[in-house]
Amino acid sequence: MTPFDPIPALAGGVLIGLGAVILALFNGRVAGISGILGGLLDGERANLAWRAAFIAGLVGAGFLGLKLVSPDVMIAADWPILIIGGLLVGIGTRLGSGCTSGHGVCGMARGSIRSIAATAVYISVAVATVFVTRHLIGG
């Protein structure tokens, strides 16, 4: 993995912020990935097209970007952990009405107390989880 470089990190963040702002400004929608994908899976007809378009843009840009810059993508978790983690992320983001994008980038920017609380909780819990798996039982 390449060493930490603040420039691409900031630049990537700016693009993410820009995506969130244009969706709110033009369409009045939250660029929350879990809400968009979850809504798509619920099969809500009225909002199917814009959600599908957003996901297509995200996956498409990911596909092109990976071809162009080919960054490392290291998925270290083994299969059982991967599946458990996926289920928890899926259920948790729906129960908590958002993820890193919806609460972290959009909600916090709007000064939402709910989003600030959710972000503080999921980051703290994720830090604790990594501490337990890497330093207490993993080590």
Binding site: N27, I33, G62, G92, A117
Partner: protein, 137 residues
């Protein structure tokens, strides 16, 4: 049609941002979460970059009031945190800490063609779908 184009572009910007910032790499994200190890500050800079645009951007959104391409805003009204929100954030935090993927990067990583990226996405989508069933939408 214009709204769909905006959605596509917004999704594209998100995807490009996740790749350029390397948030698509779970190892990078876990490096940020591993405060007791060799801490990787990348995620903090990504969030700072995003908020640097998103905070003034949403200020503008609020000032304008009505979205450019829709009759009314669909942004959620402010509210208080409740048990459901906190419980969801806890479950999400555990899953995120176990694997290093949150929903956006999991989608952006599909382009790698890696079986594990598809496996995670399938499990995540199953969780979302199951929740939708149980919550009885």
């Amino acid at each position: 049609m214009a709204r769909l184009l905006v959605s596509l572009i917004a999704g594209g910007l998100f995807g490009a941002g996740l790749i350029i910032s390397q948030m698509v790499n779970p190892a990078r994200v876990l490096g940020f979460l591993d405060v007791a190890g060799t801490w990787d500050p990348t995620l903090a800079f990504v969030l700072a970059g995003a908020l640097a645009v998103s905070v003034p951007g949403h200020w503008l959104v609020r000032r304008i009031g009505t979205p450019v391409l829709d009759r009314k805003s669909h942004l959620p009204p402010p509210g208080r945190p409740d048990r459901r929100l906190i419980a969801g954030a806890v479950l999400f935090g555990i899953g995120w800490g176990l694997v290093g993927f949150c929903p956006g990067p999991a989608l952006a990583a599909l382009g790698t063609g890696e079986a594990k990226a598809f496996g995670f996405l399938a499990a995540m989508a199953t969780g979302m779908w199951l929740f939708g069933r149980i919550a009885g939408r």
